[in-house]
């Protein structure tokens, strides 16, 4: 068996802690989860007690304590039915979690700008933590100010943090990508909404900076079996493939591999 597959598993986790970190955003600690986790990997998390919501939800591994007493933290934004139900689930409830999934991709570069848009911080945080020495700065933008705890967490990373909010309630007033134009870096890793990713792609492509993005897609299996999480690729940059699978080939892709036009049309 492929060694990466040996690392993954099916866990019957308990929700051991829950706290708010921002508007509609909460952090959940799940244990036991004993596997090693690499940045931008994700787990498929079931919605407990909801027989009508079949599919597990893909959620980044925000933080991790591996090993025997292992636990993971996830950051969830109450978006639709499932994440809202998860938000309402009390501590102590058991949740089925499968993972970690996703290709643990190495990002080359010595001065990497990490860009997080809103809930995108869920994936970016662990990358910054695991690669602190190579991070030039963490850029975190959100529509409005989040709770103090999240900014404290970012500060504790020991890398410079740049903050923006769309409504100006904290940091620069406006999109976080505006700060990026001033960035001094040799690579960018971005995690956030599609429009932000595309903006990052345009800025970096213009400046000749290598850019990577963590992409989202609706998933069923998370393991490359169902072919549900397709994202349109430029075949000439993707070994001839029209589609890549976010769960298997991603979720992080070099941004120039994506066929942005077909991606936008899909309205994922």
């Amino acid at each position: 068996m492929d060694p990466r597959k040996k690392n993954r598993g099916l866990y019957e986790c308990e929700i051991t802690e829950k706290r708010r970190l921002g508007p509609g955003v909460f952090e959940m600690t799940l244990a036991p989860f004993t596997a090693d986790v690499r940045a931008f990997q994700f787990a498929m998390v079931g919605i407990p007690g909801r027989g009508d919501l079949l599919l597990k939800r893909p959620l980044c591994l925000f933080d991790t304590t591996p090993g025997k007493e292992g636990e993971i933290k996830i950051l969830v934004k109450a978006a639709g039915e499932g994440t809202k139900a998860l938000k309402a689930t009390p501590v102590g409830t058991r949740v089925e979690v499968a993972g970690p999934f996703g290709e643990p991709r190495d990002i080359p570069g010595e001065h990497i700008a990490v860009v997080a848009g809103g809930i995108g911080v869920a994936g970016s945080y662990l990358f910054a933590k695991q690669n602190a020495q190579r991070i030039s700065a963490v850029y975190f933008g959100s529509t409005t100010r989040w709770d103090d705890e999240i900014y404290k967490l970012l500060e504790e990373l020991g890398t410079p943090a740049r903050i923006a909010t769309d409504d100006g309630t904290l940091g620069r007033h406006g999109p976080i990508t505006e700060l990026l134009t001033e960035a001094d870096c040799d690579a960018v890793v971005a995690c956030g909404p599609p429009a932000m990713l595309e903006r990052v792609y345009k800025i970096t492509a213009g400046a000749g900076i290598r850019a990577y993005g963590s992409f989202e897609a609706r998933m069923a299996c998370g393991v490359g079996a169902c072919r549900g999480c397709a994202i349109p690729a430029k075949p000439e940059k993707a070994s001839g493939k029209e589609y890549l699978m976010v769960c298997e080939d991603g979720p992080v892709f070099a941004m120039d591999v994506i066929d942005w036009e077909r991606y936008r049309a899909a309205g994922i």
Partner: protein, 305 residues
């Protein structure tokens, strides 16, 4: 100890629980999460003569107790299937069934012929719900004539057991079942996903890139159960049930109704351990109710009144 094994078309399955096509990929993707060696077997992702890229995303949508998929039968094509995918399963101790798709009768037949030469697939399952490009895109399986053509051509191309996976969206499945058997099917899989649709009211657009998709999951179980019941009364070949089974109770229901084997699909997404749990539950049920052999459950429904 209950004997869980079932033999159909001369193939022995260690138990009646299989994973359905399109769920288990090419047999290795679920490694570490779902142990296929504990199951009766696995039906691999549908394979076509040439590689298919599949549909534009989104390809998935969740629905109440169900899901829609419009994968578009993305697959690596026959060559890669034979050269890479089947060899990777060499050490896997479970029955492997290949699933065959095509856009023309000739494509179906070519795939069957090529697979016939390979020793691994124990049986070929023909998915006749594919759109027929030679006949305005209507699914082969919803027209008696094209169903006859495609099954006959596949039958001529292989000596392996031939399973035909019927489409559920027909007025009466009985004549389709009889037609498939007359054209050479050794067993019938009942049934595929039900045509359906989802809309995002905020964007005012269909959710799926393909507009329509196939409904699967527990929502469709009662529909599949009836189709198995109707088919079991219409033909004499073994029936393989597919549609919404999530646990041993559904597996028992399918078997009582006339199915020899039960495929589980969508449930792997919510609970990858479900097929294995179904095997355990099935064994307990048989034990508790005095069935020494689960094969005796097949068709053991007691009629009403």
């Amino acid at each position: 100890m209950t004997n869980l094994s079932i033999t159909i078309n001369g193939i022995e399955f260690r138990n009646p629980i299989l994973v359905a096509s399109g769920i288990a990929g090419y047999g290795t993707e679920w490694d570490g999460l779902c142990d296929f060696e504990k199951l009766g077997g696995v039906v691999l992702k549908g394979v076509s003569r040439e590689p298919w890229a599949g549909n534009a995303p989104p390809r998935l949508a969740e629905t109440p107790s169900g899901m829609l998929n419009a994968i578009g039968l993305e697959n690596v094509g026959l060559d890669a299937f034979l050269d890479e995918k089947l060899p990777a399963l060499e050490g896997l101790d479970t029955v492997i069934v290949a699933n065959v798709v095509g856009r023309t009768v000739a494509e179906y037949a070519d795939v069957c012929e090529a697979l016939d030469k390979h020793d691994r697939p124990a049986a070929l399952e023909v998915n006749v719900s594919c759109p027929n490009v030679e006949s305005s895109g209507i699914a082969f399986g919803t027209n008696i004539n094209t169903l006859t053509e495609v099954v006959s051509a596949c039958r001529a191309a292989t000596g392996k057991p031939l399973w035909v996976k019927l489409s559920p969206g027909v007025s009466d499945i009985a004549p389709f079942a009889a037609t498939a058997v007359d054209a050479g099917a050794d067993a019938l899989t009942v049934a595929n996903t039900i045509p359906a649709m989802a809309i995002d009211v905020e964007s005012r657009r269909p959710v799926l890139g393909n507009t329509y998709g196939g409904l699967s999951g527990p929502a469709v179980f009662p529909v599949a159960l009836r189709l198995v019941h109707v088919t079991a009364h219409a033909v004499d070949v073994p029936i393989i049930a597919s549609g919404g089974a999530v646990g041993w109770r559904d597996a028992v229901a399918f078997m009582l109704t006339g199915a020899s084997l039960v495929q589980m699909g969508t449930v792997l997404f919510s609970a990858p351990a479900a097929p294995e749990a179904a095997v355990t539950g099935l064994a307990e049920y048989a034990e508790r109710t005095g069935f020494k052999e689960v094969s005796k459950l097949v068709g053991a429904l007691i009629n009403k009144g």
